[in-house]
Symmetry: C2
Subunit: 458 residues, 2 copies
Amino acid sequence: MTMVTEIESKVMAAKKASIILSSIRTGEKDKALEAIARALDNNRSSILQANEKDLENAEQLKREGKLSQALVDRLKVNDKKIDSMISGIRDVMTLDDPSGKTISSIELSEGLNLCKVTCPIGLIGVVFESRPDVVPQIMSLCLKSGNAVIFKGGSEALYSNKALFDVMIEALRNTGTIPYDAFHLMETREEVMDILRMDQYIDLLIPRGSNDFVRFIQDNTRIPVLGHADGICHVYVDEAADLDKAYNVCFDSKVQYPAVCNAMETMLVDHTVASRFLPEMAQRYMEAGVELRCDDESFSILENIKGLKLKRASEDDWKSEYNDLILSVKLTNSMAEAIDHINSYGSHHTDAIVTEDEQKKAEFISLVDSSSTIINASTRFADGYRYGKGAEVGISTNKIHARGPVGMEGLVIYKYVLIGNGDTVADFENTGKKKYTHRKLDISLENMLNLKTDKKVM
Amino acid sequence: MTMVTEIESKVMAAKKASIILSSIRTGEKDKALEAIARALDNNRSSILQANEKDLENAEQLKREGKLSQALVDRLKVNDKKIDSMISGIRDVMTLDDPSGKTISSIELSEGLNLCKVTCPIGLIGVVFESRPDVVPQIMSLCLKSGNAVIFKGGSEALYSNKALFDVMIEALRNTGTIPYDAFHLMETREEVMDILRMDQYIDLLIPRGSNDFVRFIQDNTRIPVLGHADGICHVYVDEAADLDKAYNVCFDSKVQYPAVCNAMETMLVDHTVASRFLPEMAQRYMEAGVELRCDDESFSILENIKGLKLKRASEDDWKSEYNDLILSVKLTNSMAEAIDHINSYGSHHTDAIVTEDEQKKAEFISLVDSSSTIINASTRFADGYRYGKGAEVGISTNKIHARGPVGMEGLVIYKYVLIGNGDTVADFENTGKKKYTHRKLDISLENMLNLKTDKKVM
């Protein structure tokens, strides 16, 4: 038996509390969310003061060249950001509780009934860089869905994270109903690796940060990771494209906000429309300051346009997420070639086609192996809020559990509940006294249990 | 760039073929299943001959003490086993195709519609010991759901696996519609570790074999593993139990088939009913040859019964999966103590309560963190066939994706399909020209695409 570390004891406490938390009723959870929102509103000055401390340290580190301006920006908390934390929490209050829902029910045999019911996953590990607003956002999503959380933020946001967390925990403590031991904030630097090793207790990891950060997490843990490292998204302009739609979709996918995972990084253009489409498109990109990295064929179409930021693409460009006003461009001989390029070089995140051909729409959707496939619209739409989820846990490129923009539905799993009357398998399979009916029911677990109390079941 | 090995090239070929396979229509897949079933029927002698070779080698290894009789038994293929392979495949034909189903659809804005549609996971790795019947079973489930498969069996079943696989592949080849490159059987011994390393291509692993075998797989791969290692299941006999039900449930859970994961390993008994319940229960177990390993309290109740196989339990017994006619027994002071024991020592597989108390039923269901929680019925019911799934991929104790007995629904994920008309995010979020409506639709992807052709969409 090894010694239990302080971290481990916190994680074990959270795991234990997660069981209680999973049985708290929706109404109590919503009251707790309102209490958290109010507490943030009432404690603005202490939060801003703590953030001031982090910002001073960050400025110092920036002067020493150890921190980028972008990271300092993401660290900053002001009244407007607190407003949006608060409204984010109140948004979560309005969303459906995803746990405790009967997915299906079936009669196995007379008086022997099976229910499949959603329940929280259990204990979520949240590992994040910089942005302190991750704390209230994930806290509210996990609380509403009934999951416990271990937070581990970066040292650069030490004071801000602690101030936010302490205010929220104090509010939970005052509710008297929420097992606040379900939520812990880890503080020292060494604990990231410790958390990644706790696959015995932590059921799911949500990393928030740069691509390299997420990849580091994915590469160093056996805990399932919900998220994505790369976002190498494509738009394919088909020979049957409406070129006006293509200009708009390609422009928006690259320019509307280039620093994010769902921005386009490579534009694929069918060779039959390239000479009509590319010059005008390049003109629009030029006005927005976009640099183009072209394969030989597209380069030769564009090389005489004055003022273009034009380079030749190398093999590396097809694998690059620029997150910037840079776009690689490649001509293809067919949709099949474009799809093959997308499946080979892409990150299975979000890929779009511009075409008017109904058959090609269906084929593209079917054959592109990405979490979002898009017809005649910008890749930038692939996002939890735009997809109508109300709140986003993250975007996943996983092939199991949850894929694409993930809302609270990604924070629940299900369990089977079987209710009998002393039934034995021997009666069915040894003596043959009973027979399986496997009759579909349309009845919730509550009704099946015939509960007269108002106690929450799941 | 490292050299591509032969194994890697097979895996890459399967991954590529998985894309084509994902778009094959249900009717074609069912035809292929029928072709496979017939081919097995028509090639019985070559399969039995190959199995004979494996059995000869196995008998030799058994004589050298390198293989157990149980393993030799599991290796054996006869006409009856081929019959059940064939009927298993025909059962899968009758099941719903789980892929290509529209889960939900929503209008983001006028003319901009989003569909969430199920699709195959992609490439499944199946790593198994002994039982050659795994090959047709998993092959049929994966083919029906549209997934490619890499099989890796043990060397003891080399000839049997190859004979079964070759017969099925030849049948697929003759269909002319199924991309048979989606299915590969690995042959040499070294390849297990190679497969476990291929997380870039393989989306999900299904291990079939002993607990140690499954644990080895889980501990040596970054690929998600669908399955479970331990099956430490409990029955808790509550103070409000109907004892007649308790006798039946506890007897069946242990005795009906003790060698499997959903058999009970520990019986927890409330101290208030112990002296009434245990002597009669022990008598029944004695007649079935069950050895009891008791904590001090239950030991003192039973020690004077003549002929009982009775031992004192140690801490290790609470963590043991006997898979045999052995049962550990523990008294508890409350249901809370029983639940705590189950959540701490159990494997989160299947746990049951015997009680007539409605409130306790609800609490047990809510607080026991297991894939199946059972009220007044045997733990042995936790199984894909008994749960009405028609066919079982495996039983999962994972907390994400699929939990409990898993049917073909565990072999699909979903993708989002967004269909627009040249829509840009800038129109919503920069110029404010458009507004999100987020109106729920009740329309399938096929209808949304307005497809006039009979081509399968997903």
